[in-house]
Amino acid sequence: MEAFFFLLLAVVSIFSGLMVILQKSPVASVLFLVLTLVCVAALFVMLSAPFIAAIQVIIYAGAIMVLFLFVLMLLNLQRFTEGAWSRFQITGVVVAAVLAVVTALLLRAVPLPADSGFLRETPGLGSVEAVGLSLFTEYLLPFEIASFLLLAGIIGAVILSRRRP
């Protein structure tokens, strides 16, 4: 059962991932990205990370992708298409293909440790309580740094999009 869902989600996410980079229209590309994100969120649930899965759907697939679509609609970018492929782009495909094969083989070849916690579920892992508790104890400092990261993002977006007087 688990294998079936994994394979289904894997196939759909790879397909939609390919569609992200193959679509001519940016809007279609972004919509396929949303599909990939939702598939990955479903995989998160299978990997006992329900909270992260919820965040992924709400923030990533929700807010960030809406921002993408908003900008696309605002600029009305549908009418732009790309020209023929350059030598650089063909090199890019080769590089990416080599990267895919090499990393996949590397990862496939790693022997699994005998006591992998992967098959026996750790109780309570990834619950809102567990994530929240460690976020406000062990990871309190990174949490506060992230607030300044977002502040930098806010200042940046404001200053960049300010129209000249």
Binding site: I145, A152, L160
Partner: protein, 481 residues
């Protein structure tokens, strides 16, 4: 809950900077539409306060926040470097920003936020903190690079920086993920303990993890082959920002690299040495050869900073205490030379933002002898002529590499330094020899001039007392947990 686990002393300097960001924004908001002076003064005060706090808490922090940060002498040393750069670009900046009609208070808050990120890169003892510090720094830099939206090249520089920077971040976090997968933690102490104990350090996911981590970091350092963004970005960005970008973030990237790789360098063994050897040789050679025929002073300085990243890699490759302390000394002198040179470049620019020609320096030696003399100090310092600071930086790093047995690489480095003499001296030749250009006079800007003079003074001063500064750097390296 045990509150002693949150020792605020360890993060005192970035804490002051964080509060300062908010203060500067508030001051800017309250000080009316056209007046940016209060924001600048507030930013200068914040930097000075942070420097005072940094000195007061020097090497007193220790590891805190559940092993996330360490407020040791290493962090303090780098904080002082970042704060010095921030002070100089905040002091020198307004004249440039006014000239281009982009004087907004956000400049100051972005510089401070970015320095805060750097402080966490230098202090982080967990890959998560280093990653977040790096992103905070980079995000502010992407915006600063595009700080002149009216100029298209500034906008393109920021787009290019952002796209390539996030691309590199992808590699960096994938690397962190694989390291986490191998050791079950992103804690650096666990990382070096694992590598010290492992028979094959690159077994499992670790090999790919370390490689990807290295790609992400070398991108930020602008090491060949991941340097190609830097000339374009430094060239397109507003020049005050280029001065900042070529100095402080490079120092921060090396701080993070030392944090991560200094302790486990020995256990990484031969493949690691070979890769770094090739990267260092390539970076020096490509940087210097590309700098040779640049007509724009900004591009020349950009390629020269690529070459300097190559020399600095020698210190990491050496992996000994002198190498690490040499990097600290090198960076402390390098930032002043680079900030000074970029600042003089925009002071003498008389053809408008679009053209930074080496010809701008013509006759500078006769018209503004003091400015020309200071520019000569920067150029000679970048070459590494004794008794300037640049010489001792190179001396320490190269000696460390020889001690570690990389004689051939040091030979390449010395040859490269000889090549660099050509393009650095060319600036001086133009300043003192070329006469035929009829250009209008260089503006007199007291604050900016003071900033340049401070840079020149530091380059000379660090050259006069290199031994004691190196001792501080050695103590800083030794204080790393």
């Amino acid at each position: 809950m045990d509150l002693s686990r949150f020792n605020l002393i360890t993060i005192a300097t970035p804490l002051v900077l964080g509060a300062g960001v908010l203060l500067v924004m508030l001051v800017d908001l309250l000080s009316g539409r056209a007046n940016r002076r209060p924001a600048q003064l507030a930013a200068l005060a914040v930097v000075l306060a942070a420097a005072a706090v940094c000195l007061a808490t020097w090497n007193t922090g220790g590891v805190s926040f559940f092993g996330q940060v360490s407020g040791d002498g290493f962090a303090s040393f780098f904080n002082l470097i970042f704060l010095a750069v921030a002070f100089l670009v905040i002091l020198a900046g307004p004249a440039y920003l006014e000239r281009n009609a982009i004087h907004f208070g956000e400049y100051y808050s972005l510089v401070l936020v970015s320095v805060m990120g750097m402080a966490f890169m230098a202090a982080g003892t967990n890959l998560l903190v280093i990653f977040l510090g790096l992103e905070t720094m980079s995000l502010a830099l992407y915006v600063l690079a595009g700080f002149n939206p009216a100029r298209q090249s500034s906008n393109e520089a920021s787009l290019k920086y952002l796209l390539l920077g996030s691309f590199a971040t992808g590699f960096l976090v994938f690397g962190i993920a694989l390291v986490y997968g191998q050791i079950g933690s992103t804690d650096l102490a666990r990382f070096s303990a694992y590598l010290a104990g492992a028979g094959d350090p690159f077994a499992g996911y670790m090999g790919a993890g370390v490689a990807l981590l290295l790609i992400g970091l070398t991108f930020k350092m602008a090491v060949v082959p991941f340097h190609f963004w830097s000339p374009d970005v430094y060239d397109g960005a507003p020049t005050v920002v280029s001065a900042f970008m070529s100095a402080a973030p490079k120092a921060a990237a090396f701080a993070a690299a030392l944090r991560i790789f200094y302790a486990p360098a020995e256990s990484l063994g031969l493949p690691w040495e070979r890769i770094l050897w090739i990267l260092a040789a390539l970076t020096m050679t490509v940087g210097n050869l590309s700098a040779l025929n640049q007509a724009s002073i900004k591009r020349m300085l950009a390629y020269s900073s690529v070459a300097h990243a190559g020399y600095l890699l020698l210190g990491i490759l050496a992996g000994n205490e002198l190498g690490a302390a040499g990097i600290l000394f090198y960076l402390a002198s390098y930032v002043f030379m680079n900030v000074g040179a970029f600042t003089v470049a925009w002071m003498v620019n008389r053809r408008g933002e679009g053209r930074y020609d080496l010809g701008d320096f013509a006759q500078l030696g006769f018209r503004r002898p003091l400015l020309a003399a200071m520019m000569s100090v920067f150029m000679l310092g970048l070459i590494g002529i004794p008794p300037l600071a640049g010489f001792f930086g190179k001396l320490y790093v190269f000696t460390a590499a020889v001690q570690a047995g990389y004689v051939w690489l040091v030979v390449i480095a010395v040859l490269n330094s000889a090549v660099s003499v050509f393009y650095y001296l060319r600036v001086m030749v133009i300043m003192y020899m070329r006469e035929n250009e009829a250009l209008k006079d260089v503006d007199r800007i007291p604050a900016t001039f003071a900033a340049v003079a401070a840079c020149a003074l530091m380059v000379i001063l660090l050259g006069l007392i290199p031994g004691s500064v190196l001792d501080v750097a050695r103590a800083a390296v030794a204080s790393m947990p």
